[in-house]
């Protein structure tokens, strides 16, 4: 069941100049419902002229004990900049939990989670979930430079981590899609989130190597819950809403590879 609820910002930490980790809890203290990796929240910043619509953000982690949602935010434009400037104690309104979620792998599948830039956001939650379900997730994380790769310590606590940076400041130098692990290891399942060109390249790699692959899309979303039909992706079933039937899609459903 979707809810609209006021949250209080417990903390907002700059991980680098552009990436922020917000931890938020319901203002009314009510226990949060179950949430699943891949789902997102739709965030409203009150009284801002640069944000008319809500802003979708993946659930980076759901800390059930602390009744706290983590949001990993890239300050990309006017709206996210404004959010990044918010301080602990301020309140924000969320609609949540929205969207579908990543599917669980089959038992004993070898799994790789590939995240580019802030696209790692949903993968931390997914990784932790997979770990707790008995899987052994591995991570391939990439960015332009070392500081673009956030929450490395959290990922390292969750599974094996490979990294790439375009400038070589961390891990392999080059594009994430050229990391040797993709050549050397045969994974059974890939989950990925990041810039669209990266995801398309990975989808092609996965399709070519007959690896099951799920991607998380970031189409623009006015409503986030199926009311406006603006967030559509062209799929084999026609134009369908990413906010309700996604954001996670198996690449077989998409028209990325032909």
């Amino acid at each position: 069941m979707k809810q609209k609820l006021d949250f209080i910002i417990n903390s907002n930490d700059a991980l680098n100049k552009q990436i922020f980790l917000l931890k938020v809890s319901p203002k009314n203290g009510a226990p949060l419902p179950d949430m699943y990796p891949g789902q997102f929240v739709h965030l409203l910043v009150h009284d801002s002229s640069s944000i008319f619509l809500r802003r979708p953000l993946s659930i980076n982690y759901f800390d059930k004990e602390k009744n706290e949602i983590w949001l990993l935010l890239l300050s990309a434009g006017g709206g996210t900049k404004r959010i990044s400037e918010m301080k602990a104690g301020e309140s924000i309104n969320l609609i949540f939990p929205l969207g579908n979620s990543f599917s669980l792998p089959k038992p004993r599948q070898k799994i790789l989670l590939i995240g580019g830039g802030v696209g790692t956001a949903p993968l931390l939650f997914l990784g932790k979930r997979l770990l707790s379900e008995g899987f052994e997730p591995e991570f391939l994380l990439g960015g332009r430079t070392a500081i673009d790769i956030s929450q490395l310590e959290h990922f390292e606590r969750t599974g094996k981590v490979y990294t790439t940076t375009e400038d070589g400041s961390l891990g392999e130098k080059g594009l994430i899609t050229h990391h040797p692990v993709l050549e050397e290891t045969k994974f059974d399942k890939i989950y990925t989130c990041g810039p669209r060109p990266m995801m398309v390249a990975i989808a092609k790699y996965a399709a070519h190597n007959e690896i099951d692959c799920e991607v998380s899309l970031e189409n623009h979303m006015p409503c986030g819950f199926g009311a406006c039909l603006c967030c559509v992706e062209k799929t084999k079933r026609g134009n369908i809403c990413v906010c309700t039937e996604g954001p996670v899609f198996n690449i077989k459903e998409l028209k990325w590879i032909d």
Partner: protein, 303 residues
């Protein structure tokens, strides 16, 4: 709650607050947030005779206090509506009104006929103002003759409450309202979206796949309000006002300008509970101002 009762044609509404077509899905999308029976009515998605895939993504651009959309009437067609949607939504305890669209006069008539006998669809809203499809839509809404011809043809096959939705992209909206009133429309609803455009300066490309799209949200409210007032002074049939309504104050303004009822559109995306908050706000306003019936406010602008 009788204080909020209003009539639109043969329709009696529990209250004047309804939700606008294309912004409220089929109602289902909002049941987690609100009790639909608290609404005067729900205008469901634009429906056409044949299924439509709508326009390509991107279909949306955010603008100052508003947004552009070019959904382009994506829907599964009236047959699917009858078989798969109607059985579900007919259970809702509010008026479900279908927004009827077409490319040709014949389309509109056929789509209307398919809906005419549905018990729980007490009215249709004829959309002659969609700016987002190449054929039909707005073309009918920007000339008196074509609007009148269309309404005449639909009126022949439809006995229940016929609401005609007007385009704001005209020099004289009152003239179009008069033309459709003369052909027997029971009510006019206004406004649909304004034809607008957004450009990505860095990419030098339009932000919408269709280049232009329909502007909605608080930014258009002053123009929409003016149009309601102009139409109110011209016609006798009840007006359903909309355009940028985001709180009870906006709703009262539209009512004072001459709206018998109102629709909330884009703001449902931002605040999915806004419609029922407006119902509450109107009641509080009426208490504060000692107003017995909402009808006593309609068009009562003191100027």
């Amino acid at each position: 709650m009788d204080r909020l009762k209003v009539n639109i044609g043969k329709l009696e509404l529990r209250n004047p607050v309804m939700t606008a077509s294309g912004t409220f899905g089929y109602g289902d999308e909002f049941t987690d947030f609100i009790d639909l029976s608290r609404l005067g009515g729900i205008f469901v998605k634009g429906t056409t005779l044949e299924p439509r895939q709508g326009n390509d993504y991107p279909r949306m651009a955010e603008t100052a206090s508003g947004m552009l959309n070019s959904v382009g009437l994506q829907n599964k067609g009236v047959d699917y509506f009858l078989s798969d949607i109607y059985p579900r939504i007919k259970e809702y305890d509010t008026h479900m009104i279908v927004n009827v669209n077409g490319s040709t006069l014949e389309d509109y008539v056929a789509c209307t006929e398919a809906l005419a006998d549905l018990d729980k669809i007490p009215a249709i809203e004829l959309n002659i103002s969609c700016p987002n499809v190449k054929e039909g839509g707005m073309i009918f809404g920007i000339s008196c003759t074509s609007a009148a011809n269309l309404v005449k043809a639909v009126r022949k096959v439809y006995d229940k409450t016929l609401i005609v939705k007007l385009s704001p992209n005209v020099t004289d909206i009152a003239e179009i309202a008069l033309a459709v009133e003369a052909e027997g429309a029971d009510s006019v609803s206004l406004v649909n979206t304004f034809l607008g455009m957004a450009i990505d300066a860095e990419k030098r490309k339009p932000k919408l796949s269709t280049v232009t799209g329909g502007l909605s949200g608080p930014c258009i409210k002053p123009i929409a309000l003016r149009m309601v007032w102009q139409v109110y002074k011209a016609v006798k049939i009840p007006i359903i006002g909309m355009g940028g309504i985001s709180n009870w104050k906006d709703a009262i303004e539209f009512i004072l300008a001459g709206s018998q009822a109102i629709q909330v559109g884009t703001y449902n995306f931002i605040n999915p509970t806004v419609s029922v908050e407006i119902v509450d706000g109107i009641l509080e306003y009426m208490d504060r101002h000692n107003i017995d019936s909402i009808n006593d406010l309609v068009g009562k602008l003191d100027y």
